[in-house]
Each structure stands twice: as structure tokens, then as C-alpha cells.
Amino acid sequence: MLKKQIAKLLTVIALLSLTSCFEVLEEVNVNKDGSGDFTLTINLSQSKSKIKSIMLLDSINGHKVPSKEDLKEGMIEVVNYLKNSEGIYNITKKEDYENYVFSVSCSFKNIKSINNLTKEVLNKQKVKIGSYNSYKYDNISSEFIKKYSYDPELLRQYNKLSNDNKKIFENASYTSIYRFEKEIRSVSNTATKVSKSKKATMHRVNAIDLINGKATLTTKIQLAK
């Protein structure tokens, strides 16, 4: 049942475009005391013509095409989930149905509060993927840790897609940006870049590498004490 749902999700995403791609942007600002802001953006605008064409249909290859109302409802569910989560406030959402860019942002007292976010959001959409992020910020040691757990189920489901549908993931990207008030001393993940000001990091991976398990989002960032 779960596998079916994952397959469905992948197919629906794949159907969004055969020639285009999408971007996922994760942004975290961490204050000295460990509080901060979190934003997750999904930008499908490079595939918007395709999406608009598909949205005119009821179903495609036997999969129901979600309507605009379905998408809106999904966003409301996510916001409601965040509102009921402890330690999370200032929740805002942005929906652009012309360009197909969606984002949710919130503020947190401790970054731990958003640990279950991606997992729960996917659960809410009845898709249970074992790959998720968790964060930890230690005020005393000035250490920021992002842990990414990979689930090989993702690859198994991806392999079931047709070659045409796989193509869309080739150009899709996942970008994480973290900003701090203190300077960065070191980062454990060699793929993570540090900004000139030494107060921000950026890590961009191809969706395909995440699916294959070749890339990891895990990183440990040591800040000045």
C-alpha cells in the first residue's frame, strides 16, 4: 500500500513534465540562542505549461490529476499541522498558481521542533517515504547538525518509472541554505559551500543523486564559540 503511494507520487511528479524540471529550496536561519526561521519552497515553474495542460485533464494514465482545490486543501493541511505543533509560530504560506511556486515558512524556538516536519507533511499527504531530515543545534558547543536518512525504497520506486518519466529528475535540484549569526569554522560535508562572509552555507544536489543515495544532505557545521 505504501509502495503504491510512493509510486503514485513519483509518477504524478514525473507527469508534471517530460522535458522540464523542478527546484526544491530549503532555507534555515539560526539565531545565537537556537531560535530561527525555516522556509521550504517547491518551484515547478519550469514545468508550468505541462502542469497547466495536465490540470485540464481529470486523470492521466489512470492517475487522478489533483485539482487546484486539492492542492489548496493540501496547503491548508500543512499549515494546520504547523499551527498545532509545539514551538512553531509565525506560519505563512505562499501559493502562486500562475507559476506553480509554493512555499511554507515558520519561526521556531528550537530547530528540533521542525524535525518531523517533512515526514509529517508527507504523511498528511498519505505518502510515507523513509527519507527525511532532522536538525540539531547545540548552543554550548556551537554545533549545527543536519542528519539525512535515506530510504532505498525511493530508488526502487524510481526504477519502476518509464525512461521518459525518469528524465524529469535528471535536471531537478534540491538546495539547502543555512544562515547563522556566528562565523562558520568548518563543515563536514565537502559538497557544502561556505559564503564569503562565512555566515552562510549552500548545498545543492541533483534529485537523481538523492534518489540513488549517492548524495547525502547530512552535514555538521561548526560555528565560532
Binding site: T19, E23, L25, N43, S45, Q46, K48, S49, K50, K52, S53, M55, L56, K68, D96, Y97, E98, N99, V101, N163, D164, I177, R179, S195, K196, S197, K199, A200, T201, M202
Partner: protein, 580 residues
């Protein structure tokens, strides 16, 4: 069994005799006849050549399980004459029969897998399995008959009939109304039903082999059928009355309370004969299928009104034949359609809901002003498909500065979109103009230099429209809409005639379409197949005629590509190539 085998069995199950036309064995009153002309087929595709094709080899392999054969010619059946199928319905049983001529009965018998089980029915050799006695093959040295019988449940629900067949009788206290049997009550078990059907099959075999029809009893005395025969067709089908077949199916189908509604609607008593005949031709330079629908007077009068309109002649000025991938056209009269259609619906409801149907049909004509609607949308349309075109589209992405602060930026990229043009006639464009003006006010449309641009954020692309000289043109390319109707265009006499004389038509420039598909195909196997089709395909044309002598004709045509001797050889080679 693979599809080649099935395909060819279908072909063979109608192959024929030279000495005598087996049609003389078909009774006058049948519902349907199909025939396959072996003489034509073997001329187009000699047997020794067919043996070497994939379907030929498959048949030989399939049949060779018992006796070894090396050619289709060794099946014992006379491939070079006509074979028939017919469907006969009586009050008690439905027969599906195939008549196939035989030229070597020993060869034929040697191929029967369980030849030790050959039986005799009314002095005729027959073969059947005991658990399936309702499908029997019977033969003599001239022909083979395959007969399958299905008992009519309604007939055996009658107590008089049940007495004759010694079936258990359900008594009804109230003598006035007939007893009703549920479908599982009609026969005690399957074998009882099977035995009764078998009796009918036996008498059918007796009649066909031992009691030849006179000319008056056979299908040759059915003028509708003889008129429909065409010796040039490779395959033909004829249906005496579609309504009769419908109502027969509905009579037997257990659809509970709905069956009465449908049955009334389809009751053949309310219609005149509405026949159908179809032919397939695999000629030297053309593959053609034609179907003629013969209507009763009432239906024909209605359809004649609906299809009285013609395609707007001005449309022809919009077609640049060299550029198009295909077109689709139709011409009905909207006003007549809105008047006649509710009547047809009312008619098909039968006597049921008569008052309600009356009210509804009257209500429709009160609410809808048929004349006014007919003026706005006259009912003729032409859809022109052009090549795919490239179009610049914008999208949002991000640019990052040194500190990974990002800004949303707009970039452009090229996308391929279909390019089409739709033409509609209108005598009254004021309503449409009002709608477009309203859209302008709402921000969905803009107007510049005579062209409306319709943008909706949920549309994948802008749509352009122009209203000029009573023609509404709608399309995805601004350039094309600007030019539409104003630039000299070329259209051949052939397409000019098709568009003007047909009630509807479809044309596909197959080569161009396959060429485009080739660009999108990624797998090598698929590319190879498309390559073959690309080099071996001609344009496809479908037309439906206007109503003439109560007939409407549908025709589907494709030229035989060069390098292929005839349509049949082309089709078989194409099947082989695609299946590779």
C-alpha cells in the same frame, strides 16, 4: 494462440468454394452475413507466398500438431473460394454458423486432433466435445459447417413450450397472466439446456446438408442482401436490421427494470428497416473500407435536415495544404439539430414517460431559441492541425549572491506547443463579441488590431481569436491568426471536393505525423519501427457522406505506398514489421 494465428483464422473462417456459392445455404431471414472472398485474396497474395509470412507460419505450426502440413493449401479447405458466416435468430435459438468450402476431405479429417472421436449427425460426419455440445463442426466432401447454438431463455419461459420439451412447469393461481420464470428456473441444470440446444443444432445440420433451400428460401431472394454484394470486396458484412439485433440482445439480457425502458426504445416495430453493410477492399493502389448505413424514412428525413448544411466555402481560403498535418471538418445545421435531436430522444424512449418526454421536448424549444443559436453557431467547423511550433515561455528561478541571499528572477526557455486553427461560421457575432468584451473587462482577454488575445493563468498558452466576415478563427499562433483568410493559399481540388461534399471528414498527413513522433521517440526499437512506418505510409482520409436515398456512407481510405504490390500484401508486411 497468438494474434497472427487468430487474425488468419478469422480470415480463413470465411474462405470458400468454387463449385457452388455456399450463400445458397444461408436462409433468407438472417440477421447478419459476413463473407471473405478467397479468390480475391489468393490473387492478391498467392498461397505459397503467404506460407512464408509470420501469420502463415503460425497457422502451419498450429495445425501441424497432429498431421504435418507444409502449406496452407494442405488444410483441405478450398482457400480460393468464398467462405461465409451468418447469424440467424429464431424465437427459440440463435445460430452462429460458418460455412467453409472443402476440396480435400481426407486431408481435412487428418487434421482433426481427435479423429477417433468423429461422430455422425443425421448421416453427416461431425466433431464436437461432449462437454461443449453446443459448438459442432460438421462436413461432407464439399463443405464444412461450424455451428454454435444459444438457447433463447424467453422462448423456454412459455408453459406450452415447456410441456413439449418435458420441462418442469410452474403453475400460476391466476390463470390470466403468464407465469414468470427467473433465469435460473428455466432449466434444471446446464446439461439439460445443452441437450435441448443440441437437438436444434442437429436439425440445423440436417437442414444445411440434407435439405437444400430453394432459391426463394435462401438469402439470394433477399433483395437488401443481394444489392449489398460486391464481388470486388475482399471482406463484406451485411446486417439486416440494427434495431432488431439491439432489441434481441436486450430481450435476453437481464437488466431488471431498465430492460423494459431500453426494449421499448429499441422496439423494431417503431422503426422501419435500418440496415448496415460494409466492405473492405485491398486494391492495387488503395486500401479502402466503406460502411453504408441505411435508414428508415423517418430517421432519414430527420438526418437529412440535420446534415443539410455545408461547410462554409470561405473556409477554403484558410487552408494552406502544404503546411498542415491534417484536418477535421463537420457540417451540421445547429438549428435543425436542436429541433430534431430532442425528437429522436423522445422516440427512443418508446411509449415510456410519454408525457414527461413531451414536456421536456417542448420545454427545450421554449428555453432554447433554436433559430438564434443556429445563427450564432451555424454548425460547421474546420479544425486545422499545423506542425508543432516553438514558443518562448517564462519561468521563475533564483539567483544567489555571495552570501547566498537569493532573489527570484524571471528567465525564458523554449517549449514546443501544438499549433492549430479552428474555424467556425456565425451569422450573428454580436453575442460572441459581447462575451469577449466582458472577458476584456475581467482581464481574461485583450484586443489589439482586430485580434483578441485570451489569457487565463490556468491555460498552458495564449489563445488568439479573430472574428471576420462571419468566420470565427481561434488558434495558438498569433502570426497564423493574423494571416488567416488574408493570404493566398493553396488547396488541391481533391481536398476542396472532400470538404465541400462530406458531412464530416478527417485527413491525416501520416508521413508528417510519424516524422514528428520519430523526434520524440527515445527507444531505438521504437525509432526503427517508426522509421519503417515513415517510409511505408500514405495519407489517411475518412469521410462521411450527406444523406442520399436514405443512406449515409462512411469511407476510410489509404493509398498503398510505392514498393508494395497491393493493399493486402502491404497490410501483412506492415503487421510483420511492427511485430518484430
Amino acid at each position: 494462440m497468438n494474434k497472427f494465428y487468430l487474425f488468419t483464422i478469422v480470415l480463413l473462417s470465411a474462405i470458400h468454394i468454387s463449385a457452388q456459392d455456399l450463400a445458397s445455404k444461408i436462409p433468407k431471414e438472417v440477421y447478419a452475413v459476413a463473407s471473405l472472398k478467397g479468390e480475391n485474396l489468393t490473387e492478391l497474395f498467392p498461397i505459397e507466398e503467404f506460407d512464408k509470412t509470420t501469420p502463415g507460419k503460425e497457422i502451419i505450426k498450429e495445425v501441424s500438431r497432429k498431421g504435418k502440413i507444409h502449406s496452407i493449401a494442405e488444410l483441405g479447405v478450398d482457400i480460393a473460394s468464398t467462405g461465409y458466416y451468418f447469424y440467424q435468430v429464431t424465437d427459440s435459438i440463435r445460430y452462429h454458423c460458418s460455412l467453409i468450402p472443402i476440396n480435400d476431405v481426407n486431408q481435412f479429417e487428418s487434421l482433426i486432433h481427435e479423429s477417433e472421436n468423429i461422430k455422425e449427425i443425421k448421416g453427416v460426419k461431425a466433431f464436437y466435445k461432449n462437454h461443449d455440445k453446443n459448438s459442432v463442426i460438421a462436413w461432407n466432401d464439399q463443405m464444412m459447417l461450424f455451428v454454435h447454438g444459444q438457447i433463447s431463455k424467453s422462448y423456454f419461459s412459455n408453459n406450452e413450450v415447456r410441456k413439449r420439451y418435458n420441462l418442469s412447469i410452474k403453475e400460476n393461481g391466476d390463470k390470466e397472466s403468464p407465469v414468470e420464470y427467473r433465469s435460473y428456473e428455466i432449466f434444471e441444470n446446464r446439461s439439460q439446456k445443452r441437450e435441448i440446444a443440441f437437438q436444434f443444432i442437429e436439425s440445423k445440420i440436417d437442414q444445411i446438408f440434407n435439405k437444400p433451400f430453394s432459391q426463394q428460401q435462401s438469402i439470394f431472394s433477399n433483395a437488401d442482401y443481394t444489392k449489398s454484394r460486391d464481388k470486388n470486396a475482399e471482406f463484406s458484412i451485411w446486417i439486416s436490421d440494427i434495431m432488431e439485433i439491439y432489441s434481441d440482445i436486450l430481450k435476453e439480457a437481464d437488466m431488471g427494470r431498465y430492460s423494459e425502458l431500453f426494449y421499448n426504445g429499441m422496439n423494431p416495430a417503431k422503426f422501419g428497416t435500418q440496415g448496415l453493410s460494409g466492405h473492405l477492399y485491398a486494391e492495387k493502389d488503395e486500401l479502402k473500407a466503406s460502411i453504408v448505413y441505411h435508414m428508415d424514412n423517418k430517421m432519414a428525413a430527420r438526418m437529412k435536415k440535420v446534415y443539410s448544411g455545408s461547410l462554409n466555402k470561405k473556409f477554403l481560403k484558410y487552408i494552406s495544404e502544404e503546411e498542415i498535418l491534417g484536418y477535421a471538418s463537420y457540417a451540421i445545421d445547429t438549428e435543425k439539430f436542436l429541433v430534431e435531436y430532442p425528437k429522436m430522444v423522445k422516440n427512443s424512449l418508446g411509449g415510456l414517460f410519454e408525457t414527461e418526454a413531451d414536456i421536456i421536448t417542448n420545454l427545450i424549444s421554449v428555453i432554447l431559441d433554436e433559430k438564434a443559436i443556429g445563427k450564432v453557431i451555424k454548425g460547421d467547423a474546420l479544425f486545422l492541425m499545423y506542425d508543432l511550433s516553438d514558443k518562448e515561455v517564462t519561468y521563475k528561478t533564483y539567483e544567489y549572491d555571495e552570501d547566498y541571499k537569493y532573489t527570484e528572477v524571471e528567465k525564458t526557455k523554449t517549449e514546443t506547443i501544438p499549433d492549430f486553427l479552428l474555424l467556425l461560421s456565425s451569422d450573428d457575432t454580436s453575442l460572441l463579441k459581447k462575451i469577449l468584451k466582458f472577458s476584456q473587462e475581467k482581464g481574461f482577454a485583450s484586443y489589439k488590431n482586430g485580434i483578441y488575445t485570451i489569457t487565463h493563468r490556468e491555460f498552458p498558452t495564449e489563445i488568439y481569436a479573430k472574428i471576420e466576415n462571419g468566420i470565427i478563427s481561434i488558434g495558438t499562433s498569433l502570426e497564423r491568426i493574423k494571416k488567416a483568410g488574408n493570404t493566398p493559399v493553396k488547396i488541391s481540388k481533391k481536398h476542396r471536393q472532400i470538404l465541400q461534399k462530406s458531412s464530416s471528414s478527417i485527413y491525416i498527413n501520416t508521413k508528417e505525423v510519424v516524422g514528428i513522433a520519430k523526434n520524440f521517440e527515445r527507444s531505438n526499437r521504437g525509432k526503427k519501427k517508426l522509421d519503417y512506418v515513415f517510409n511505408n505510409v500514405e495519407d489517411i482520409q475518412l469521410t462521411t457522406s450527406k444523406i442520399k436515398n436514405n443512406n449515409m456512407t462512411l469511407e476510410l481510405k489509404m493509398g498503398v505506398p510505392t514498393g508494395h504490390a497491393n493493399g493486402l500484401k502491404y497490410l501483412i508486411t506492415l503487421l510483420e514489421e511492427i511485430d518484430k
